[in-house]
């Protein structure tokens, strides 16, 4: 059994949902990332998503756009991010998922990218701008390297498409909670709860469903998990902590760990 599946299974047995934590790798500097991830894992993150910074992040709001710019300015490359994953995996069993737009993969070459990802013990990949119908080769290559491919579903996704996406996906299904880009929101919309309830009968016993976009507070996480989702994905909230504490690394790590702890308790 692969690590991501194992993680969700163990959590389920304990009656918990997964806390999936996202940070943009290399923000504010590449050498900070492993310690930031330590703090996330020590705080209780069940899965960590590392974002490869890309020049044109069309699915991201201002928070992650700014993180991307900081990481790129600091010289972060896709290879560095994958090697950071390896460094993390030497210390932790926690599954590491790489989130990247498609062009950095395409530029390196699909086979080369996935070979390197495998070598760096990456457990899964999320490519937010690659719809499943364009992904057949990518899926094959990822499967051959035993890397989970995590597809996204959105409020606009029909049940017919959802069925096909679930068939193609492994690891978990990433449900985009709302019409919009990444970034913190004050409340979880009722439509998000309805969306989870609508898709749940199709994912149940087939693939874990994790919900992302606009989830930043413990009460958000609680609501998502109570609605029946198997996990909640929190990103911009962590990126905000990193941005606010650029000058005090120790405070940054402490706040990340504390915040993770609070979020995890809500699962």
């Amino acid at each position: 059994m692969r690590e991501i599946e194992k993680t969700f299974r163990n959590l389920k047995a304990r009656g918990e949902g997964a806390l999936i934590a996202y940070v943009t790798a290399g923000d504010p500097k590449p050498e900070y990332t492993p310690r930031i991830v330590d703090a996330l894992i020590n705080g209780g993150a069940d899965i960590v998503e590392l974002g490869i910074p890309f020049s044109d992040p069309i699915a991201d709001g201002p928070t992650i756009q700014a993180a991307t710019l900081r990481a790129l300015k600091a010289g972060t490359t896709p290879r560095m991010v994958l090697e950071t994953a390896k460094e993390i995996k030497e210390k932790h069993d926690t599954p590491i998922v790489i989130l990247t737009y498609y062009n950095p993969i395409f530029r390196m070459g699909l086979e080369k990218f996935l070979t390197l990802a495998r070598k760096c013990k990456v457990d899964g990949l999320i490519v937010p701008d690659l719809p499943f119908e364009e992904a057949s080769t990518y899926k094959e290559v990822a499967e051959s390297h035993e890397i989970d491919i995590i597809f996204l579903a959105a409020p606009s996704t029909s049940i017919e498409r959802l069925e096909k996406i679930i068939e193609s996906a492994s690891g978990f299904l990433y449900l985009v909670s709302l019409y919009g880009v990444t970034g913190t929101r004050e409340h979880i919309q009722d439509s998000t709860v309805k969306l989870i309830e609508k898709f749940l009968p199709y994912t149940k016993n087939r693939i874990p469903m994790a919900v992302g976009f606009g989830i930043s507070k413990p009460e958000h996480v609680k609501k998502i998990v109570e609605s029946g989702a198997d996990g909640a994905i929190v990103g911009s909230a962590f990126v905000n902590i990193i941005r606010k504490n650029k000058r005090s690394f120790r405070k940054m790590l402490r706040e990340i760990e504390e915040n993770t702890c609070k979020l995890k308790k809500a699962t």
């Binding site: 020049s55 044109d56 490359t77 896709p78 950095p104 395409f106 937010p128 701008d129 499943f132 498409r161």
Partner: protein
Amino acid sequence: MPEILIVALEELEDAYKKLEEDLEFKRALQNYLSKYAGRPTPLYYAENLTKKVGGPKIYLKREDLPHGGAHKINNTLGQALLARRMGKRRVIAETGAGQHGVATAMACAVLGLKAEIYMGTEDIKRQRLNVFRMKLLGADVHPVKSGSKTLKDAINEALRDWVTNVQTTYYLIGSVVGPHPYPMIVRDFQSVIGCEIKEQIQKEEGRLPNGLVACVGGGSNAMGTFYPFLENSEVRLYGVEAGGCSLESGKHAASLCAGSEGVFHGMLSYVLQDEWGQIQTTQSISAGLDYPGVGPELSFLKSIGRTEYVYATDDEALQAFQELSKLEGIIPALEPSHALAFAVKLAKTMSRDDILVVTLSGRGDKDVEVVADRLGVQI
């Protein structure tokens, strides 16, 4: 493209396909193109320029004359009518030079739609006049401060808006770029340029030209010029990109000449990128060519050898801009000034019996400030 937009793209494709048999739509578009936008545009024999160069007969396809001063209105009228058909009352668009923004604002005004235009702050600075025009036409202009603050980031921001408001909003892309079906839709609406050239040159000269020259940013006027001629293999097709300072300096926007294959803005095409696939910022005197990607069909035509791509530098474009103004009394936009600069070079290698057609994709009124600044003139 993000999953959230896939359904909208499929809906768009379905709605567009239905237009093929929609006589009412065709009549409406035809009516707006002729009575509102002023089509057909003339194919003008530039005798003074021809004499000066001493080569082939040079014709100019006067896309500087349609309403709004550029070819952009051909596409915006088509797509705005389509938006109305689809029941979407809110239209968003990106703009570089501002010509597409103006043309979108015009089409939306006349068709009773709400237009919101995304424009990089860098472009707002160099195209202030167009910003004010858009506002006069009732559009909202959203300044885009992210990334390079030019066209590429305006597209990013428009896409982010679309992801958020896709249920109520039509995204009116201004060039043959972006995810399918946009490159096809924009090409089809712009093909009126090439179709008219074909008819007009037959009438004038009784034959097809030896070559067609058009500037290439995203590639809409080039694709519109070339498309009806793809079947005529004897007609050579030249796309002229923005060479900026020079290709060697890296400060340019010549995706086809100097780029490599990449996936960007929902298309597989030539892009300017670094070794890690990060999209690079571009530089050109003309805001309309300042884009690090290019239409996928133009890339395809390169791969099969049907088109030839070259570039003109800022300085060459600037010279052609002044030359045409003085010789023919036509102030061209800086974008087609690139095409003119190359056409003059090309003409010197051709015979007097040959015919060359250059698409003059816009007029230069919007550029006079930039040009004055470059020439060190205070106005």
